[in-house]
Amino acid sequence: MSGFVGLVPAFRLRLRNIPLKTEYPSNGSIEAIVDTGYEGFLAVPSSIFRAVRLDEIVTRQAVVEVADGRRLQSEVAYGTVELDGVKGEFDGPVETLAGLGEVLVGVRLLSEFRFTLDYCTRAVSVNPCR
């Protein structure tokens, strides 16, 4: 299910760590904000990164440049995303960085979809490219 949080488009999704057979949340889904200014795939708070045990597999270090120009260190591991109401699983780099308080969907994940926003009717549609 996708829609708006206020005027911001958002998805509901589940994050999986398939190699360790864990997922977050264990029931239902979490809200994720669509951030077209974020070049990555998915960014999550460290509590979610740990809950899905992505910190237990070998991770990579990367850098995220935030809006004010600061360069923050992030921790990256590959995870799998399932969006509510969309068929299929989508694999990509999931990262976490200090101070992140919400789940962000970036353009690398969005590039898998035909993603349409209609602010007149407050409708969001998401369909896989293939």
Binding site: I18, P19, L20, D35, G37, Y38, E39, G40, A43, E56, I57, V58, R60, A62, V63, V64, E65, V66, A67, D68, R71, V76, A77, Y78, G79, T80, E89, D91, G92, P93, E95, L104, G106, S111, C129, R130
Partner: protein, 96 residues
């Protein structure tokens, strides 16, 4: 069509064939994007320099590791799509 003529005039000047050149460039760009999207992502699990498993998805990779008795905690999982050293987030100061 009016906008197309305007852009063609701005980019190609008054010369004949400016619209065709613009359409040609746009089509090439679109086809490049479609082709890039259709390249299948591959995941690799490696220990040191040794690649111990490859698959088209994390689910298939996890299955291969399990079959081969390799703990996912002991390998580095990477994608054929390189991870950028840095990514940007938030509002840009200018439009590229």
């Amino acid at each position: 069509m009016k906008k197309l003529r305007e852009v063609a005039r701005r980019t190609g000047g008054p010369k004949k064939g400016a619209i065709s050149e613009l359409v040609d460039a746009a089509l090439k760009e679109h086809l490049r994007e479609v082709e890039a999207r259709s390249v299948r992502q591959e995941f690799r699990a490696s220990r040191g320099d040794l690649v111990v498993a490859r698959a088209g998805s994390l689910r298939e990779l996890a299955l291969l590791l399990e079959k081969r008795g390799i703990s996912p905690r002991d390998v580095l999982i990477e994608s054929s799509i390189p991870l950028p050293a840095s990514t940007k987030t938030g509002l840009r100061r200018h439009i590229d």
